[in-house]
Subunit: 341 residues, 2 copies
């Protein structure tokens, strides 16, 4: 098993202050490895990076059409959002189309992840609800899928529920990795998750990006989801988030999705490539830097947003520059950006 | 240089999801190493772990007595607090004793780090001020020091200001590590910081814990600061924070202080030991787990709060257990706790 590689580091003054190690892989839809660094074969939990795969049954089973879900809703079904008002409104609308409301959500409740949205919600005198949960769009999609296919959505998060069965089958078939008791865990929003190799995750997204090796129904669904995400990068994440910032300038040539514990995926449809990254310590900042570098390098993209995430000034509370956070040269190679001003 | 060791890991289902590596050392006041794991000689930025050392001149120069600062104020001068109302009130009172207010603070402004306090502040219609900055107590102490010694506090954060000179001299003398351009950086709250070996940091705190190898004035000041912290663990951090939780049950036998980017120190005065930890990736959760383990092991402390930070259930938003976060066996050895229920 190859050792993990340096993904990114934080400096302060003349010194490196912190270092993040991990693995990254770039794969085409046939599974051919274009680039690999670190351990890309040991299964990792993909966390929220598989949300677009989990959303496929919402379309293939006819639920999106039955409830006439718009592009914002389809994008939100793939989202880890910040609980901002637009996210909450779309999630509520998805549920309303099934005749249901937030009480049908089984994702749990937390305050908006966006600090400004949390303060505004508090100021308004309202309380956090399941609609503010970062996974509420995905779960609203599950409720739509359940109702559209004639199943009571109660307990839709349980492995034996027809919704979870359909989602699990899709994940297995698109990633090619069988689900076993050994690779199963429970995700932050209560649904089952399965550990898979980084290589298989990247291959699945090369397929999602191109439609290759997918059933015609899934290929069509993937196209619709990509289109919805490209039109609504804000819905997928929110203010100042990596996915939103990068896709606002680079979709539909580039798609990205973060996951908890330092996982990232990206798609380069025109290049036919999928990218998957795991920062071994769970550090999101390093996974973002690595994703930006591999998008620049293998997507031949040159954009200030990518450069920002590859190499950014670290500032103190007074706005003084105290160091930088920068991707490793191993990942960025010739695409290493100049020091930020 | 020894390789860093596993400090802690997060599991999900049957698998390890994320791993944190770093270094840790336990040292007595003569510099004798009792335990070392990983690279403890390469200089690291100690960040907020040196706040108690930085507070020594506040006492040795007579400022604490001149302004009749109480124990809460002395504890807050050593704090990285969460911006809760009690923290803000004490910082404001410290400034008022010099005839000044928050406009004299040069630490910058941010919303309270405690999410509940931030929402409450927003709900009240107020804005964040420099008093809510996590370093406002330290900076209020600097203003007190400046005024008490007859210096205009303006620009007290600049290296050439007499306050920063006094603080730098104290750090150099107590840690034994000369300050050079090579090891200098700027901290998050705008003041100069110097990288030092983890071993030197632990030795400095063994001295702070015992008074050994300190000048009589500094030894007395250290005793007063330890007493103030032991009486006010809430002032040093805040609701649900590691330092507050651990010291509420274990001070004055145990003192701890977190720093940004995964640094932690601890003191075991009765054992004559100082502890210093750096999680290489900056992960605070791993530094906390490591500190808890070394306190249990070298302080022969057995307490549920320590066990909690050594090995805790990870729960999803619904409160279901999905895995655990646990310290490495290398650090905990015979003190490894049973799986949490």
């Amino acid at each position: 098993m190859p050792h993990d590689v340096l993904l990114a580091e934080a400096t302060r003054g003349n010194r490196v202050e912190s270092r993040h190690y991990g693995a990254a892989v770039v794969v085409d839809a046939t599974g051919k490895t274009v680039f690999a660094a670190g351990d890309v074969e040991t299964p990792i939990y993909p966390r929220s990076t598989v949300k677009a795969l989990q959303a496929l049954p919402l379309l293939t089973e006819g639920a999106a059409d039955k409830y006439n879900l718009g592009q914002e809703a389809l994008a939100l079904a793939c989202a880890s959002h910040q609980g901002e008002p637009a996210h909450v409104a779309v999630a509520a609308d998805m549920l309303a189309r099934t005749g249901r409301d937030a009480t049908s959500l089984e994702c749990g409740t937390h305050w908006p992840l966006d600090a400004r949205a949390a303060r505004a919600l508090a100021t308004s005198g309202e309380q956090a609800s399941a609609l503010h949960n970062c996974c509420s769009g995905k779960h609203a999609g599950f409720v739509c899928l359940s109702c559209a296919t004639g199943h009571d959505p109660e307990h839709y998060t349980r492995p034996e529920h027809p919704v979870m069965q359909a989602v699990a089958r899709t994940l297995e078939e698109v990633t090619g990795i069988p689900h076993t008791d050994d690779n199963r865990g429970t995700d932050g929003c209560a649904i089952p998750t399965w550990a898979i190799p980084l290589h298989a995750l990247a291959k699945a997204y090369a397929r999602f990006a191109t439609g290759q090796s997918l059933t015609p129904e899934r290929a069509q669904a993937a196209t619709r989801l990509r289109s919805a995400i490209a039109a609504n990068p804000f819905m997928v994440a929110g203010t100042n988030q990596f996915d939103t910032r990068v896709m606002q300038v680079l979709a539909p040539r580039v798609f990205t999705k973060m996951g908890a514990e330092g996982v990232m995926i990206a798609m380069l449809p025109e290049k036919g490539l999928g990218i998957a990254i795991k920062c071994r310590d769970g550090g999101v900042r390093a996974a973002e830097a690595a994703a930006a570098a591999l998008i620049a390098r293998f997507g031949t993209e040159n954009n200030p947003e990518l450069a920002h995430f590859m190499r950014q000034n670290l500032k103190n509370w007074n706005g003084q520059s105290v160091g930088e956070f920068r991707v490793s040269a191993t990942l960025a190679e010739d695409h290493y950006p100049a020091a930020p001003s």
